[in-house]
């Protein structure tokens, strides 16, 4: 079960010829795959392509009708390997993942696939997680496409163009026996737009057909001498076939006037922002009627030499708009022009920044500088371009810089991972700082305030493996943290198996929250929900023991901070050798609330007795030290200023978003902080006994309270 339901979006997948699809880019891509007659789809979730996986997971009926096989792959390597179904059989297949991280994991399979080549069209949808909002290292997928010779599509951010290119991309893959990558950037994936649909296409050849009629050809397998042949095929057959197809089908686009002293060559994905920059310079209207010739590369690999030559032939200078580094296209275009001795000067990274987002603002600066250098007449009267500098340089705004606080992402309210890190913090106070390797997942937020735990992160599921060098006798042990997602992705073997085999005397914490939560709450092997189409409920603890783990502790309630702390302490101090594995399990609160909240509200409505828990702080007991927040960081635990002239510092306060997870009480108790926290249990639809007992008790308590109040001096007069 994913973080949100895609039931409505599934209906969009059924749209037929002439219907208008309106929605998110990544869902338009999903629809395009069905229109292209894919026989199978796989992939691994992660921003920005999670919604593709989620909608397909919810679209069983649609897929069954079409006879399409869908798999949530174990990792990106598994997804890439799935494409081998298209090697011998005329099956169209597609896989998707977050890139470059997913492509890193998949590249072994991709290289093998690209070497032997494919018969059926294969498409790899890569969500290029680059620029603002990205959660990973800043690299380009382009390099992978070039090194393995996989064609790279980079369509204009327009649903119509993207969908069309996917359909053409499968044909391209088939005529050139080469896999194709479709690169879509973060904001294009989550862009709302529309396109006119076609009917979905049932695959002409199905997976079943293939299984029943197996084929093999040793020449398609990467082993000498075939491997040498593959390289020659790539050069002599596949590349020319692809170049002809791209040219003949006009996959790249020419815009604007045919003649001009200067022109702009760009990746398709840059088109919208280039048009906006030209508009600011008075060189285009809002509809893309440009006065500067543009060559839009919807296919960025291979570069079509003849098209480049043709575009540049009559020009004095061209600007290459290519986001990210290194500048592969700029280098390639220089080569094309030098070989043909075409004299157009090539500008690119000299006027545009080497790295970072190419926003309209950045492009405005780059294009302006390019035109100033090469054809200043075009800049004409220089209409005023938007400029925030006068505002930003104002002293009052300068001052604001010192005031606005950073707002790093953090764990959600009630997150079951918070008490794990609170416990680690308590252990740190007792036993000193340890080397902690972090992993990928929500738990990586531990590296930020207030926890500040975790020294490195080396990739998904690689937290444990990244402590492997620290396998020596020392006063302290290494600690590795990994999530359940990372565990099943590869951490079972690369982390735990590795530690068992090498007798690594470290501590390994596996955070099990029943989903791959950071990517949107998808099910995995150890998910606790029953999922008709998958086999869930496979225990992590059993897997760890199965691979040879001896010292394994399963904690079924992470909110028990005291137990968590004691278990960690034991793991760090026990004399037992080999890896010490702690599996800390509690359900992701975001998913739990989504699951449980409607049930509870319904039960209350139906008159069922329900106890709802919430936490609070007694403001006159709280002294305003905020030690509790330094061990928590819960969004619902904040501070408020009291209306009391004697108090300088704000006190802790819990707002009504509290879900009653219990972490603050447990921490206050385990860390011996203070008695300010209380848990309030509100009984909805109380039984008669509840009411009777409460009335009796409260009447006695009320009498006692009045008795004491009478003896106090009346202080109201001093207010």
């Amino acid at each position: 079960m994913a973080e949100r339901s895609f039931a409505r979006e599934v209906e969009d997948l059924r749209l037929g010829d002439g219907d208008i699809f309106r929605g998110e880019g990544i869902l338009a891509i999903t629809k395009a795959l069905l229109q292209s007659g894919v026989a199978y789809v796989g992939g691994y979730q992660g921003s920005p392509i999670s919604h593709l996986m989620d909608v397909l997971a919810d679209a069983k009926d649609v897929l069954d009708d079409l006879g399409v096989v869908f798999q949530s792959s174990a990792n990106e390597a598994a997804a890439a390997a799935m494409l081998s179904a298209s090697v011998m059989y005329p099956l169209r297949g597609a896989v998707a993942w977050k890139s470059t991280v997913g492509t890193n994991v998949a590249s072994d399979a991709l290289a093998n696939l690209a070497s032997g080549g494919v018969t059926g069209g294969t498409m790899i949808i890569v969500g290029e997680d680059y620029g603002e909002g990205s959660s990973i290292m800043q690299e380009r997928t382009h390099a992978f496409a070039m090194k393995s010779q996989i064609w790279l599509l980079d369509p204009r951010p327009d649903h119509e163009c993207i969908v069309n290119l996917i359909e053409k991309g499968f044909e391209l893959s088939e005529v050139s026996n080469t896999p194709v990558m479709l690169e879509v950037r973060v904001r294009a994936c989550h862009m709302h737009g529309s396109f006119a649909c076609k009917d979905n296409v049932k695959p002409a050849h199905t997976i079943k057909d293939a299984l029943n009629n197996p084929k093999r050809d040793v020449n398609r397998i990467v082993l000498p001498p075939a491997a040498y042949e593959h390289e020659q095929e790539k050069i002599k057959t596949r590349m020319p076939a692809a170049v002809s197809f791209v040219r003949d089908n006009k996959l790249n686009e020419w815009m604007g006037p045919t003649q001009g002293k200067v022109g702009i060559v760009m990746q398709g994905g840059m088109y919208n922002n280039v048009i906006r920059a030209l508009q600011y310079l008075g060189l285009s209207d809002a509809y893309g009627n440009t006065q500067v010739p543009l060559y839009v590369m919807n296919v960025t690999y291979p570069v079509i030499d003849t098209e480049i030559a043709e575009f540049c032939l009559d020009k004095e200078a061209v600007l290459i708009v290519e986001e990210g580094q290194p500048e592969y296209l700029e280098q390639a275009i220089n080569t094309v022009l030098r070989r043909r001795d075409i004299q157009a000067r090539v500008h690119g990274k000299d006027v545009l920044p080497m790295g970072g987002d190419y926003t309209a603002q950045v492009l405005l600066g780059g294009v302006r500088e390019f035109l100033e250098k090469t054809e200043p007449r075009l800049l004409g009267n220089r209409p005023p371009a938007p400029d925030a500098a006068p505002v930003l340089n104002h002293p009052a705004i300068e001052k604001l810089k010192q005031v606005v606080p950073a707002r790093p992402p953090g764990l959600c309210t009630g997150c079951p991972e918070r008490p794990i890190f609170a416990a680690m913090k308590l252990v740190e106070e007792e036993l000193g700082q340890h080397h902690v390797s972090a992993d990928i997942g929500c738990h990586l937020f531990s590296i930020l305030p207030p926890f500040n735990i975790g020294a490195t992160t080396m990739g998904f599921g690689l937290g444990p493996a990244s402590t492997s060098a620290f396998n020596v006798k020392a006063d302290k042990r290494s600690i590795a943290v990994m999530g359940d997602g990372g565990f099943w992705h590869n951490g079972l073997t690369s982390g735990i198996g590795n530690a068992v085999f090498n007798k690594h005397d470290g501590v390994f914490v596996i955070v099990d929250n029943y989903y791959t939560s950071a990517t949107g709450g998808q099910d995995i092997l150890s998910s606790r929900a029953t999922n008709k189409r998958r086999k869930t409920n496979n225990s992590i603890t059993q897997a760890v023991k199965g691979i040879g783990g001896q010292w394994v502790r399963q904690l079924d309630r992470t909110y028990d901070v005291g137990k968590m702390r004691d278990t960690l302490k034991e793991a760090l101090t026990t004399k037992e050798e080999g890896p010490k594995v702690i599996v800390a399990s509690s359900e992701c609160m975001l998913n739990k609330q989504r699951r449980v909240k409607p049930q509870i509200n319904k039960a209350i409505k139906d008159g069922v007795r329900i106890v709802k828990e919430r936490f609070g702080v007694d403001e006159d007991v709280c002294t305003g030290d905020h030690a509790c927040i330094r061990l928590s960081g819960c969004p619902s635990l904040s501070v408020k200023q009291l209306d009391d002239p004697l108090r300088d510092d704000p006190v802790a306060a819990i707002d009504n978003t509290c879900v009653g997870c219990g972490n603050c009480g447990e921490v206050a108790e385990a860390a011996v902080l203070c008695p300010s926290f209380y848990r309030a249990d509100v009984i909805h639809n109380p039984s008669r006994w509840d009411k009777f007992r409460s009335e009796v008790t409260m009447s006695v308590i009320g009498w006692l309270q009045r008795r004491r109040a009478r003896r106090r001096p009346a202080l109201e007069a001093l207010a």
Binding site: M191, N273, D285, A286, V391, L392, A396, P409, H626, I683
Partner: protein
């Protein structure tokens, strides 16, 4: 190079000035920015416009700051415009900020400019983690945002959209949609907006109510709040019922300089509430001495800052947090009333509370008579044995009879307090502190005030309390090193501020290192 630009009349390719309406929504994850975005897109599409939105779900959504961006414009002869994926600084028509500091951040990003931008922002605060973890007051000054908005925005619509939404049983996105409708930046009617919400179905009723309230709030301004009757001045206060307390109030008015009286009243109230009237009398005795030292040191010219600070911090020092006080506060009727109103408890609901207490032997020892307590303190093995029995987490069901009675009894042990070990320790510590301050004020007035204010460092319970005390001691020791310097008060203030910056006291250690380098 010759500048040719001005002479050339270059006709625009099209109506180049015609650009889409651009709207940026700055929010934190979980604030419903996605819903609001979809509404605006739907609104535009309902009128045959081209509309495009982009966002970045994922990591930023997990409570971090994020931007949703929308561009929309009518089609020209059926042609679709090319729309941008990210806002361009200086070219945004509407910025909607779901939190006040996020409004500030949008200004820093250049999204709000005086030529173009209507800023719709909620002025409520959702504090960032950095503001919450400081041991002192780390809350950012939002006055700077107010100032910046006045400079950056063309039009501003600022009020607490969050409170309005909560009051109408909905979320901030509905309030922002209403404010957008009222802002008249899009050529659509109020009904057009409401159609979009209605089509959404689920939760539409609460959303519409919130929408309407926000719309009206923008159109007609804040609701007229009846000006509360000014609280009657102190002089007009009826004499307290308790004659002894009345005597104290009279003393306070006679003995203390006027500028310090308000604070002293609050302080008197706190210490009497903590113990009894006699303790209030002791408070005034000490305060009188401090105030005469103040007068002798020329306090009249300084607005009696020393007495004011003393009135505040002495009251806090005298009402230290002990077990008796906690038990007393937890068993008061006003406490339950407060919780009930916070939870909006209805007649048909039953409330219980559970306290998370972790008493240690130290706390028990503090309650014992001073001599006995000291004797026990010198017996580490016995103490350890006892501690193992006492020192554990206890879940206390406050409103069950046995637990309530236990707390009630402890809360009534005030009679033992003034003979207790804890009281003796607190009194010694307090006397030394006041002595230091009084000595200082004679030679360096401001330093005396600063020493008094260092009391702010002592707070919390158990380990937190010990850490606070150790910071206090370190700070006073460091002040000794510079007390003869002219800028001693500045250093004292710097030390105190550093001590309140972080938990472990690294900043404080840094300042002390600096002082040691020259002192």
């Amino acid at each position: 190079m010759r500048d040719e630009t001005v002479k050339l009349a270059l006709p625009a390719a099209g109506d180049a000035t015609e650009r889409p309406i651009s709207i940026a929504i700055v929010a934190m994850g979980g604030q419903g920015g996605g819903v609001l975005t979809d509404w605006i897109v739907q609104l535009a599409e309902n009128h045959g416009w081209a509309a495009q939105s982009t966002s970045v779900p994922g990591v930023a959504q997990r409570t971090g700051a994020t931007i949703y961006y929308i561009e929309a414009m009518p089609l020209l002869d059926g042609r679709k415009p090319i729309l941008s994926l990210m806002p361009t600084p200086g070219d945004v028509d509407v910025v909607m900020a779901a939190e006040f500091m996020e409004a500030g951040r949008s200004i820093l990003r250049g999204l709000v400019t005086p030529e173009r931008t209507t800023l719709i922002a909620s002025n409520h605060r959702s504090l960032a983690i950095g503001e919450k973890i400081a041991p002192g007051n780390g809350i950012a000054d939002d006055g700077a945002v107010t100032g910046a908005i006045g400079i950056a925005a063309k039009t501003e619509i600022i009020f607490d959209l969050n409170a309005l939404a909560i009051a109408h049983g909905s979320v901030i996105s509905a309030a922002m949609f209403g404010a957008l409708a009222a802002a008249n930046v899009l050529p659509f009617s109020r009904e057009n907006y409401l159609d979009v919400i209605r089509a959404g179905g689920k939760g539409a009723k609460a959303s519409i109510e919130t929408f309407d309230a926000a719309f009206d709030r923008v159109k007609t301004g804040p609701a007229e709040v009846a000006v509360p009757v000014q609280p009657v001045q102190a002089s007009a206060t009826p004499t307290p019922l308790d004659p002894q307390l009345g005597g104290l109030v009279a003393r306070l008015t006679q003995e203390l300089p006027e500028p310090a009286q308000a604070m002293a009243r609050a302080g008197l109230r706190k210490v009497v509430d903590f113990q009894d009237v006699a303790y209030g009398s002791e408070y005034l005795d000490i305060l009188r001495k401090l105030s005469s030292a103040d007068r002798n040191s020329g306090g009249a010219d300084k607005g009696y800052a020393f007495t004011q600070a003393a009135a505040k911090h002495l009251a806090n020092a005298m009402s230290y947090d002990d077990v008796i006080r906690v038990a007393d506060l937890k068993t008061r009727a006003s406490r339950r009333t407060r919780i009930e109103s916070e939870l909006e408890l209805s007649q048909n609901q039953v409330l219980h509370t559970t306290e998370f207490m972790h008493p240690r032997m130290e706390e028990v020892m503090g309650m014992l008579p001073a001599g006995f307590g000291r004797w026990l303190g010198a017996k580490p093995r016995l103490l350890g044995w006892l501690d193992r029995r006492v020192n554990k987490g206890r879940r206390v069901r406050t409103y069950s009879l046995p637990w309530f009675l236990a707390l009630y009894v402890v809360g009534g042990l005030r009679g033992l307090r003034r003979r207790s070990l804890r009281h003796a320790v607190e009194t010694d510590h307090r006397d030394q502190w006041l002595k230091d301050a009084t000595e200082a004020v004679g030679t360096n007035y401001q330093l005396g005030v600063e020493i008094l204010q260092c009391r702010r460092l002592v707070k919390g319970y158990s380990d937190t309390h010990s850490r606070g005390l150790s910071k206090f001691d370190k700070t006073l020791a460091a002040i000794k090193l510079v007390e003869r310097r002219d800028d001693a008060a500045d250093w004292a203030r710097r030390l105190r501020e550093a001590a309140l910056k972080d938990g472990p006291g690294k900043e404080l250690d840094g300042v002390i290192q600096t002082i040691k380098s020259f002192a």
